[in-house]
């Protein structure tokens, strides 16, 4: 009997440790840089709720499961086992074309040119694109086309700025591009191929000096995950 009792205690301790140990190793060994184990339960039935960024798994063979919810930017699952297979964070961004030639500016027209910013991301809190310039649209010998300040580039006025089109554009009027970053596009959720077209606009008065003008703008896309 004494031997049987010892056997009982040992088996009990081993059983408890086996029950506790998986909770300890769950976060440490369920994933690595090269793989993710999304479930430690073998069950049956059920299905997945999917969106652009997430997959919510469920089953019918385990304990009772709750309702799953999913949208373009989030997903949740309920019940046991409930595993949320979140996609790897991802973001792509492009600026094209990388040069805009406004041609010869005149006092009788607004010269325009465009570039397009295209973003795809699955960030939890979306993305932001900012633009910052290396200075005014200027000539090497001095003199610049003044930045627009009144919300609209106007024929015959010495004004230079950008306008935006696209769902994620940050403003609807004409604004300057300066050495201080300005947000030009954003979205609070995930997007696929969101395009914002930046239209450069320049108009001159007769007092804008003749010559060759240039400016370099840098676009930065940041996702918040």
């Amino acid at each position: 009997m004494r031997t049987a009792y010892r056997r009982f205690v040992i088996e009990l301790l081993v059983g408890l440790l086996v029950l506790g140990a998986p909770k300890f190793v769950l976060a440490g060994t369920m994933s690595s840089s090269s793989f993710v184990i999304t479930s430690d339960d073998m069950s049956a039935g059920g299905g997945n709720s999917t969106s652009a960024s997430f997959v919510s798994e469920s089953d019918t063979g385990g304990n009772a499961t709750g309702e799953n919810a999913a949208s373009a930017s989030f997903a949740s699952c309920a019940g046991y086992p409930c595993t949320l297979n979140v996609s790897q964070p991802a973001i792509t961004f492009s600026v094209s074309p990388n040069s805009v030639a406004l041609g010869t500016l005149t006092t009788s027209a607004i010269a325009t040119g465009t570039t397009t910013l295209t973003t795809t991301e699955n960030a939890t809190s979306g993305y932001t694109v900012t633009v910052v310039s290396d200075g005014q649209l200027r000539r090497a010998a001095g003199g610049a086309v003044p930045d627009v300040t009144d919300g609209a580039v106007t024929i015959g006025a010495g004004e230079y700025g950008i306008g935006l089109t696209g769902t994620d554009r940050a403003f609807i009027d004409d604004r300057s591009v300066t050495t201080t970053p300005r947000t030009v596009a954003s979205n609070a959720g995930s997007v696929t191929g969101s395009a914002v077209t930046v239209t450069y606009k320049a108009a001159i008065s007769t007092t804008v000096p003749a010559g060759s003008y240039s400016q370099i703008d840098t676009y930065i896309c940041t996702g918040t995950f």
Binding site: S33, I91, S214
Partner: protein
Amino acid sequence: MDFFEECLKNNSMRTNNKQTVAKILTVALLVATIFRIGGVANAAVATSMKDTMDRLKATTASVNHIVSLTVPSGGIPNTQTLTLTYPSFTAFAGSPTVTCGGGGTATATAGSTNVLTITGSGAGCDTSGGAVTLTAFTGTNPAAGTYVVTLAGSAGITGTFAVVIVSDDQVSITASIDPSITFNIGSQAAATACDGTFAGNGGTVALGTLTTGAVTSSDASSVFHICSRVTTNAGSGAVVTVKSLNAALKSTAVGTDTIASSSATLVAGTSGYGLCAGSAGGDSGKDATTPVGGTPAATSPFNGSCTNAAHAVGGLTTGAQSIWSVPTATQNAFFRMYVKAAISGTVPAHSDYADTLTFVATGTF
């Protein structure tokens, strides 16, 4: 199950060892609970993770990073670490500054390759949760692509976020403006304003009959003045020059009879002839434009006191002399100019004293 049945049948054994089994069970449960707690801490995931860089172009060196993320309750305890590994980035450098938005302190180091390490100090950083911001470190971007930054470290905070590197993140904007200049010069009646709308060209200034009793001047006794207007986008402005055919009022019939021109303040009874740029308010000006155009200014020796009653004139020569100029591009810059003459009693009488003035506007682009 046989074992359990055997045990349950033995009441004596159950009685003797009940307390001991309960103690063992309690200890075992505590062990299991501790392991569970450890597991939850290791699963703490940061949120609102982002890295705002100042360049996204591939292989760009010395790119500035500003990293911000929100750590969960527990934060980064003293001496514990939170690491951020940037795959394929290189040459991390600088002395990152850590701000613990929820309170506390931490230090950070930028490894020589691609790992940032934040170490809690003092009472820890954001132990109740909060934003962590890192600034002042740089690195070299990898090739174009998407890179997943991984959070790890002994503080048990995990997470991943992505940054994008592109082949080109800049747009070069170019434009040109052709040089232009317009110039109007001509005579007009005294009653007609000389301003930025002047559009005349050429003409004559008839001084009439000169006498020893007065200085004959434009805008007096119906003598015309000369108005000039310049618009140019010459970056270095423009200059208006005047050249006299004779450097004097000269008799057409008797060429040796002249009223010589020299710089002086003309007085009645003393022979003299010259030109000056008006010095009264309204004699010169320009349009209000953007950018602000250059303001016209008279040039010596034509910049003396000059009205229809003030007679400081500049001497005219057969060579071109600047009479007024603008320092930069300008729109509708104008200047009124006065022609003046006086004679002494010895100036031969003729009805054909004349001179021809030629004005030229030159822009410097």
